[in-house]
Amino acid sequence: MMAVFEKSERLRHIGHLDIQRTMQRALRRSGLPVKYSQGFNPHILVTFASALSTGAIGRREIMDVTMAEDVTPEAFVSAMNGALPPDMQISCAKTMDDRHPSLTSMLYAAEFEIRIMDEDAAQRMIASLDSFMAQEQIITLRKSKSGMKEVDMKPLVYSVQGEGATLRAVLSQAEGSSCKPDMLVNALCAFLSMDTPRVIVTRSMLMGQDEGRMVPLETL
C-alpha cells in the first residue's frame, strides 16, 4: 500500500528515524493486517520514498507498507488516521503490486518551497535568480564517501522561481545525484557574497518520471 502523509509544521524538527518509529507504532495501533520482517527483531515492512531532513515540513511524503492481507485504500486511510497524531495525517493511499520497483528508485525529483525569513535577503536572492541560473556551471561542494567533492549542481536544479519571499524549486532527488534545498540556498548566497538567511523548507511534492515527464510520485 502506497500512502501519502503529511509532516506538519509542529513536527518539522522530528528526524527521519523518529518519523519511522512513529509510523511503525501507528501501524501497530491501527490494527491493520501488516506484514512483519522475519528474524530476531521483527518490524513492520514499511519503506519511505525519501528521508526528509530534520527541520523540513513535508506536505506529501510517501511510504509503502507491505500488507499481509488485502485492504482497501479507504479502510487503510481511515484506520491510520485514527492511529496517527493530528500533525501526521494521511491524505490518500493506493494499492500497489507487491513486485513494484522500490519507491527510492522511482523517485526522480521533488518540489520545495523555501521560505526566506529575512525580507531584504529574499528580495536580493529572488532578483538575482536569473543571473544565478545563467551561469554555465554552479560548482558546489558536497560530502561524499571520500571527503568533500566538487559537483556542478546546475543540472540538478530543474527549475527555480521566486514568489513573495519564497523560492519554489524543483530539485533532483535521484539516488546518488540529489540536490538538497540548502545546497541551492548556500550556492545562491555565495554567488551574491551574502550571509545565508534563516529559511524554512517545505517539501511539497515528490515526483517520478513518466515517459520523460515529471509527475507526482503517487500517480505512478
Binding site: E9, R10, L11, H13, I14, G15, D18, I19, R21, T22, Q24, R25, A26, L27, R28, R29, G31, Y36, F40, N41, P42, T54, G55, A83, L84, P85, P86, D87, R198
Partner: protein, 615 residues
C-alpha cells in the same frame, strides 16, 4: 507569538523533539473551558520525565475530570534554557505552550533530591517568585508530591503545599479545593488553610520550627488550628478502583523507558532496611489479574508499544505472576510484544515465567544482592542468599543470557572491607557459573557488570539515624573494590560520583535550613545536578559555607533515639517505634521476616483493612 519564537529556537537546539509536544495520546482540552489548569512539572529533561509512570497516572487523573486540565512541563536542557532567556520566552507547557504562570496550579514531582535546583530553575524560568512568601495573589499555587515529599522540609521555603502519599484521588481533591477557593474569592492565605484539610497535604506556612543550640530541632508545631499536628499520608486501599491510564503519551523521540509500564502492585513486603520506597509505599496492594490484562490490552492498542514492563518494587512477589504472564503472552500472541520484569527479585519462583517471556527478545538480567556478604545482607534485611543468586545466575546462563548486572551499595551501616571483598567474590562466582555451562550451550559475550552506589541514609527507614560514610572513606572503598574486581576476568565495575551522594544525603535528611543552601547554590549556578557534566561539587560546598551551614551535620551525624527528626510530623504509615526496633535488629544482624509470612507490626495495622497481611 511565543509559539513563533519557540519555533525559531528549536532550529538551534539539540533534540528539538523534547519541546514539540503534540505526541500521540496527549490531551487536547480547551484552555478556556477548564475551571482549573494544572501544569505538571517534571524537574528533569523530557526523556526522564516521559519515562516516569507517576506523571502519566496523574496526568490521566486530572484530565479525566471534566473541569480540570493538565499539561506537561519538563526541564529544558541548557541550550534551550539559554535561548529562552535571550528571547525572553517563559517556561511553557508542551501541550498548549502556555507560560506556566498562567496555570492555577504548578505541581512538581520530587523523585530524587538532586533535582531540587531544577525545581527552582523551572519556577524562575516561569516567572514565579521562588520563595512562597514572595508570591502574590495572582501567582499559581505551587505544589509538590512524590517520594521526596515525605521529607518536605528542604523545599519548605519554595513550595506552598506538599502532597504526601498516593496521589490519584488526592490530587483531584486538592484541585477541587483550589477551584472552589478561587471561585469564592478566597485569599492565598485562606486558600492554603483550606488545603491543609486535604488528606496528606502539608502546608509549610502553617508550621513553626525552633532549634536547640546544637542545631537539632527543639519544637515543630502548627501555628493555626486548621493545620493538623501530624500529616497522615494519603492511602488508597484498592488499586482496581482508582484510575489507571488506558492511553499514555507516545513520544516521537526515544526516551529512557520507552515502553508500557504496567504497575502490577504498589508497596513491598520485604522490609529491606535501606529502602525508603519499601517503607513509604506500604502497604502492598495488588491489582487484580483481570484488571491488569484489560489494561495491558488497551495500552497495547492505544500506544503501539512493542514492550510491556510489569512494574512494581518487587514484581516477583505478585501473587499470580505466572498466571499473569501466561495470560499476557496469550493475549499478545502475534502482536510482537515483549514482556519484561524490571525489578526481578532473586528468590522468587520465576524460572517458568522467565522462560515464557523469552519467546520474544533477550536483554540482560539484573540482580541486586546489594551487599557482598551474608552478614551484611542480614544487617540490611535483604533476604537473599548466595545460593539463591548462584542458582538464578546459572539458570540465566543456561537459558541463553550472557549479560548480567549486579547492583551493590557501599557504605552500608557496619560495613567492613571484608564485605567489599565479598562483592568481588560474588562476581567471581557468577563468572564461574557462566563457564560451568558447556561451551556450545551458553551464549557468547559474557559480561558481568558490578555497580556500587554510595549508600544514602533516608528518612522513614531504620537507617534514618545512621551517619553516611565520609567522602574520604567512600573513595578509599571505591579504590579497594575497583582493585579487587580487576582480578575478576569478565567483570567490570561502575561507581558513582561520591560528592553527589554526599549532597543527596544532606537533602534527604535536611531540615528547613537547607532551603537557604539550595537557593544559594542555585544562584551560584547549580542546576541539573543529576547530570555528571553539570554537577558542581565545589560550588555546593561554597554555598554551604556562605550560608554558615555544615553539611556534615546532615550527612555524617549519628542521631539520638529521642531527637526530633525534621520529618517526624509526617505519618508515613510506618511508626518510628517500628523503625527503631528494626535499627536495633540491624545492629545485631538479625533479620525480619517478609510481611507475607506474618505481620511485623510496622504501623499500618493501625488502619483497619488497609494492609491485607496485618493482624
Amino acid at each position: 507569538m511565543i509559539s513563533e519564537k519557540i519555533e525559531a529556537m528549536l532550529e538551534k537546539v539539540q533534540k528539538a523533539p523534547r519541546y514539540t509536544g503534540g505526541e500521540m495520546n496527549t490531551a487536547v482540552k480547551s484552555w478556556d473551558e477548564a475551571e482549573l489548569r494544572f501544569a505538571f512539572c517534571f524537574p528533569d529533561t523530557y526523556e526522564v520525565g516521559m519515562s516516569h509512570l507517576g506523571m502519566k497516572i496523574l496526568y490521566a487523573a486530572i484530565n479525566a475530570q471534566p473541569w480540570s486540565l493538565c499539561e506537561r512541563v519538563c526541564m529544558p536542557w541548557v541550550d534551550m534554557m539559554a535561548l529562552m532567556q535571550e528571547e525572553n520566552v517563559p517556561l511553557f507547557s508542551l501541550e498548549s505552550r502556555h507560560p506556566i504562570n498562567e496555570f492555577d496550579v504548578v505541581g512538581f514531582t520530587l523523585q530524587y533530591e538532586m533535582s531540587y535546583t531544577n525545581v527552582l530553575a523551572m519556577l524562575k524560568m516561569g516567572n514565579i517568585p521562588l520563595r512562597r512568601e514572595d508570591r502574590r495573589e495572582e501567582d499559581p499555587i505551587v505544589v509538590a508530591g512524590g517520594p521526596c515529599a515525605f521529607n518536605p522540609e528542604p523545599l519548605a521555603d519554595f513550595i506552598d503545599a506538599f502532597m504526601v502519599g498516593d496521589g490519584e484521588e488526592q490530587i483531584v481533591e486538592l484541585n477541587a479545593v483550589i477551584r472552589d477557593a478561587r471561585k469564592d474569592g478566597l485569599s492565598r492565605q485562606e486558600l492554603l488553610k483550606k488545603l491543609a484539610s486535604v488528606r496528606g497535604v502539608y502546608v509549610p506556612a502553617l508550621y513553626d520550627v525552633t532549634y536547640h543550640e546544637d542545631g537539632t530541632i527543639a519544637s515543630f508545631a502548627p501555628n493555626c488550628p486548621e493545620a493538623p499536628e501530624k500529616v497522615l499520608k494519603a492511602i488508597l486501599t484498592d488499586l482496581d478502583s482508582v484510575i489507571y491510564p488506558k492511553e499514555i503519551p507516545v513520544p516521537y523521540t526515544e526516551i529512557i523507558h520507552d515502553r508500557i509500564m504496567l504497575e502490577i502492585m504498589r508497596g513491598c513486603t520485604r522490609g529491606c532496611r535501606f529502602c525508603a520506597a519499601g517503607m513509604l509505599y506500604r502497604p502492598v496492594r495488588e491489582r487484580s489479574l483481570e484488571h491488569l490484562v484489560e489494561l495491558a490490552c488497551s495500552l497495547e492498542k492505544s500506544t503501539g508499544y512493542e514492550e510491556i514492563s510489569l512494574s512494581s518494587l518487587s514484581s516477583g512477589d505478585y501473587t499470580c505472576l505466572a498466571e499473569l504472564i501466561r495470560e499476557l503472552l496469550k493475549r499478545m500472541q502475534g502482536k510482537h510484544v515483549a514482556i519484561s520484569l524490571p525489578s526481578l527479585r532473586l528468590d522468587s519462583v520465576l524460572k517458568e515465567s522467565l522462560e515464557a517471556t523469552q519467546q520474544e527478545r533477550k536483554t540482560s538480567l539484573t540482580f541486586a544482592p546489594e551487599a557482598g556478604t551474608q552478614r551484611l545482607r542480614d544487617v540490611i534485611n535483604k533476604g537473599i542468599t548466595e545460593a539463591d543468586l548462584m542458582e538464578k545466575a546459572s539458570d540465566a546462563f543456561a537459558g541463553g543470557w550472557s549479560s548480567v548486572k549486579l547492583y551493590f551499595m557501599m557504605g552500608l551501616p557496619t560495613e567492613t572491607y571484608e564485605d567489599l571483598d565479598g562483592i568481588a567474590d560474588l562476581a567471581r562466582k557468577v563468572v564461574g557459573a557462566y563457564f560451568a555451562v558447556p561451551k556450545g550451550q551458553r551464549a557468547k559475550g559474557l559480561r558481568v557488570t558490578c555497580s556500587a552506589s554510595v549508600f544514602v541514609p533516608k528518612p522513614f527507614t531504620p537507617f534514618q539515624w545512621e551517619p553516611q560514610d565520609t567522602l574520604e572513606e567512600v573513595q578509599r572503598k571505591q579504590l579497594h573494590l575497583r582493585d579487587a574486581l580487576r582480578q575478576v576476568k569478565g567483570a567490570n565495575f561502575n561507581y558513582h560520583e561520591s560528592g553527589l551522594s554526599f549532597m543527596e544525603a544532606c537533602f534527604a535528611r535536611g531540615d528547613r535550613r537547607m532551603g537557604q543552601v539550595l537557593l544559594r547554590a542555585f544562584e551560584k549556578g547549580c542546576m541539573l545536578d543529576g547530570w555528571n557534566e553539570h554537577f558542581k561539587y565545589d560550588t555546593w560546598l561554597e554555598a554551604f559555607d556562605e550560608c554558615g551551614v555544615d553539611p556534615a551535620f546532615y550527612a555524617y551525624r549519628r542521631r539520638e533515639k529521642d531527637e526530633i527528626l525534621p520529618w517526624d510530623f509526617i505519618d508515613s504509615g510506618v511508626t518510628k517505634e517500628f523503625l527503631w526496633r528494626e535499627k536495633q535488629k540491624a545492629d545485631n544482624a538479625q533479620t525480619t521476616k517478609d510481611c507475607r509470612q506474618g505481620c511485623n507490626g510496622c504501623g499500618l495495622q493501625r488502619f483497619k483493612g488497609v494492609c491485607k497481611f496485618c493482624g
